[in-house]
């Protein structure tokens, strides 16, 4: 099953997004990660890499990040697992994208490409 890693500057935000998405995502593995080494607001590449490794069951990992540096650190983490774990970053709003991805990943036969596509569809979600 494709797993999801949620990367936010705030660990609490990542956990909250996981909670919201998990409600719809059934058995999907969603791993939140965030915070800088001092426990403050930020992200680090090694923590994201670890989350990808922990989340992976061999079927691929989708990474969804919030702002600027979280995306850069996610890129470095994805590069670090290259050749070992199939991981890719979704260009999607973090909450809606994670929710979409979780619903998609809950289907055991969903591929990483399909989960990625569903996550990125969240870019077009209108609220009003």
């Amino acid at each position: 099953m494709v797993s999801i890693v949620v990367v936010s500057h705030s660990k609490k935000a990542a956990e909250g997004i996981r909670d919201v998405a998990q409600e719809m995502g059934g058995d999907a593995t969603i791993r939140p990660v965030g915070g800088d080494p001092d426990g403050g607001i930020g992200t680090t590449a090694p923590a994201i890499e670890e989350a990808i490794r922990e989340a992976s069951d061999g079927s691929g990992v989708l990474v969804i990040a919030d702002l600027g540096s979280a995306v850069m650190n996610a890129e470095i983490a994805v590069e670090a697992v290259e050749g070992e774990i199939e991981a890719t970053i979704a260009d999607a709003p973090i909450l809606e994208g994670t929710l979409n991805a979780a619903v998609s990943a809950a289907q055991p036969d969903a591929s990483l490409a399909e989960v990625l596509e569903r996550a990125e569809e969240a870019r077009d979600l209108r609220k009003l």
Partner: protein, 235 residues
């Protein structure tokens, strides 16, 4: 002592000098970052360079490229923010240009690879009010001074530092289009970019250490470009 050990020693000297400078400027960098960012640049950079110092302990006999790469990975893991992947990732990636040791030629290749990785990762161009504004003129000036003007690397480096300083000044009057400061829009105008500033500090420290090891004139009379007649304090 072999030549590569001597070069590694210089790399370690540079690291120590930068770590000391960042420590001294920690508050200043954070102050610049509180104006237009998230007020953590000084603390983040300080944490990263202290970690780098720890991680290179006992690496005196390693090749210079190996030590430079280690510095990059330490910065990636400890700096956080955008500066971690930007500084650390670019140093790590460019370190392979030094595989044959540090020469005028490989130092240009390192500088160009560093800049390319930085721009690829951060997607920033000159005028976006980022570290790129200090780095592009520095790298271009360094390359041109050596390749076209045939200047010794130390003189080229001093000109590059000077160019970086002008780049830092340039960031003050422009509106940020990348990074956290871009969220402020016009309110970012009038503030000096913290990333460009820390880039300048690093280049200044590289120059200081290089001056102890290389021959060449240090040409920084344009350091105060608005006072062209004033004699530089010392050459």
């Amino acid at each position: 002592m072999s030549e590569s050990n001597e070069q590694t020693e210089v790399v370690l000297e540079v690291l120590q000098a930068i770590a000391d400078r960042i420590e001294a400027e920690k508050k200043h960098l954070t102050d610049l970052d509180s104006a237009i960012g998230d007020a953590d640049h000084g603390a983040n950079m300080h944490r990263g360079f202290q970690e780098a110092l720890e991680q290179v302990e006992g690496m005196d006999d390693e090749e210079p490229a190996t030590v430079v790469k280690k510095i990059g990975t330490a910065l990636i893991s400890e700096v956080g923010g955008a500066a971690g992947p930007l500084y650390g990732g670019s140093i790590m990636s460019a370190s392979q240009e030094l595989d044959e040791g540090i020469t005028a030629e490989t130092s240009i290749a390192f500088a160009e690879a560093y800049l390319a990785k930085l721009q690829d990762r951060g997607d920033a161009r000159v005028g976006d009010k980022t570290m790129v504004d200090a780095l592009v003129p520095a790298v271009h000036t360094y390359k041109k001074s050596i390749e076209s003007d045939d200047l010794p690397p130390l003189t080229a480096l001093s000109k590059a530092v000077d160019a970086a300083e002008r780049g830092v000044d340039f960031t003050v009057g422009i509106r940020a289009s990348k990074g956290r400061a871009s969220y402020l829009g016009w309110r970012s105008v009038g503030h000096q970019d913290p990333g460009a500033t820390s880039t300048l500090y690093m280049l200044e420290e590289i120059l200081d250490v290089a001056a102890e090891h290389l021959e060449g004139e240090i040409d920084r009379d344009a350091y105060s470009p608005t006072i062209p007649d004033e004699e530089p304090e010392e050459a």
